[in-house]
């Protein structure tokens, strides 16, 4: 969402890139021969595992975008509950906190099976670049994307890589 804070730079950007896949692009299958993919979020379920491998296979430059992708962040707090945390979080979300029909959805294709442990992206596939921040501020994204478009060796330093 902080991508939207790029304001008018988005118009400039739109002229230089073609967006082939995103939550807001109506394409269901991840395409082949993608130049750059910005991955948001950690790997927490079986769908993510499948997706991230596909992304790596079909993409030249993979970027971990934001603290959740880079560290697991808040989404990985469930790991502190140890093994068995899967059942606990589902129980908490769908039973204890439910006001209507408390039950864990079990039908296939509704809630993808959770992994034992939430992982940062680079624990599963090779990541070319990291852009930390929760969320990464617009100025940081701009500097990053600009360097990426110029095709230079990327360099973010100092407070540009601050977590949180």
């Amino acid at each position: 969402m902080s991508f939207l804070d790029l304001d008018e730079f988005l118009i400039e950007l739109a002229q230089k890139v073609e967006i082939v896949f995103s939550p807001v692009v109506d394409v269901k299958e991840y395409p082949r021969d993608v130049d750059v993919c910005l991955i948001e979020g950690a790997i927490c379920n079986e769908d993510h595992v499948e997706m991230v491998h596909k992304i790596r296979k079909y993409t030249k430059t993979v970027v971990s975008f934001g603290d959740c992708a880079v560290t697991g962040n808040v989404t990985a707090i469930r790991n502190q509950l140890g093994l068995g945390n899967r059942e606990n979080v589902l129980q908490r979300a769908y039973v204890e906190a439910a006001q209507l029909n408390p039950c864990v959805p079990e039908d296939k294709g509704i809630v993808p099976p959770l992994l034992e442990r939430v992982m940062p992206v680079h624990e599963m596939v090779y990541v070319d670049y990291y852009l930390p921040g929760c969320p990464p501020p617009a100025a940081r994204i701009k500097s990053f994307v600009t360097q990426l478009l110029e095709g230079k060796e990327l360099h973010l330093a100092g407070a540009e890589i601050k977590f949180g």
């Binding site: 603290d67 560290t71 940062p120 330093a157 977590f163 949180g164």
Partner: protein, 240 residues
């Protein structure tokens, strides 16, 4: 006192006998990253962030606990040192649960600042995700073990500036933890004087004032300095 001459990063300097490499470097305007060092209390060399190379010595030496000697040739910023510093920081992050985005110290944390200034854009080790708790039993302060890096600054200020001796380290290795008195809830400690010096000394979000939320925990280190100056120099002045 006799002066020693030595070089830091090729630059010739002189330092007082008995001074540490860290003090000599500071005098000479060379910045060495530190984490467990705190002006006013003795050094213990716990964090290893201040490691330097000394010609002729096969291992790296902590600048905060190593005294200068005549003719020493010191390097503070070689590629090897930068590599080890980043590695040390990554291990600190992997060992406990640091979630900067929701941490009281976000934006005012020495660990976080060091991490980005040393170029740490991700952690290459698997995070341990240990289960640690928060001690919220004290009336004024809280202790979040998830954020503690065991630098022992709080222990040293508690014993040697306040003289209360409430804070201690118990356990070994990754099980080591900061305790109050004989490992009892902080709020039940009979020796804690509620002075808050430990909270002022902590470099991370581990010790905080109750009621501070994300990014609100700022510290005023000059309060500690004031007491140390008063005691050592008998001068009741604030630095500025």
């Amino acid at each position: 006192m006799a002066a020693k001459t030595l070089t830091i990063n090729g630059k010739q300097i002189s330092a007082e006998e008995g001074a540490t490499i860290l003090q000599a470097a500071e005098e000479a305007g060379v910045k060495i990253p530190t984490l467990c060092h705190l002006d006013g209390v003795y050094d213990v060399g716990a964090c290893r962030l201040c490691l330097v190379e000394v010609t002729g010595v096969p291992k790296l030496l902590p600048a905060c606990t190593t005294k200068v000697s005549e003719g020493m040739e010191i390097k503070t910023d070689s590629e090897q040192l930068q590599k080890y510093r980043r590695l040390t920081l990554e291990l600190l992050f992997a060992e406990r649960n640091h979630v900067c985005a929701v941490c009281v110290a976000n934006g005012h944390c020495e660990l976080q600042t060091l991490a980005y200034s040393q170029g740490m854009d991700h952690v290459r080790y698997d995070y341990c995700f240990p289960k640690w708790g928060v001690d919220n039993t004290h009336r004024l302060f809280g202790m979040d073990h998830n954020r503690c890096i065991l630098c022992t600054r709080c222990v040293r200020v508690c014993w040697h500036i306040e003289g209360a001796g409430t804070k201690n380290v118990a356990g070994r290795g990754s099980k080591a933890k900061i305790i109050t008195d004989l490992n009892m809830p902080w709020g039940e400690s009979g020796s804690c004087t509620n002075c808050g010096k430990c909270v002022q000394s902590c470099p991370t979000g581990a010790l905080f004032y109750k009621g501070s939320t994300v990014a609100e925990m700022e510290r005023d280190r000059s309060r500690l300095e004031f007491i140390v100056t008063a005691r050592e120099k008998k001068l009741w002045v604030a630095s500025d």
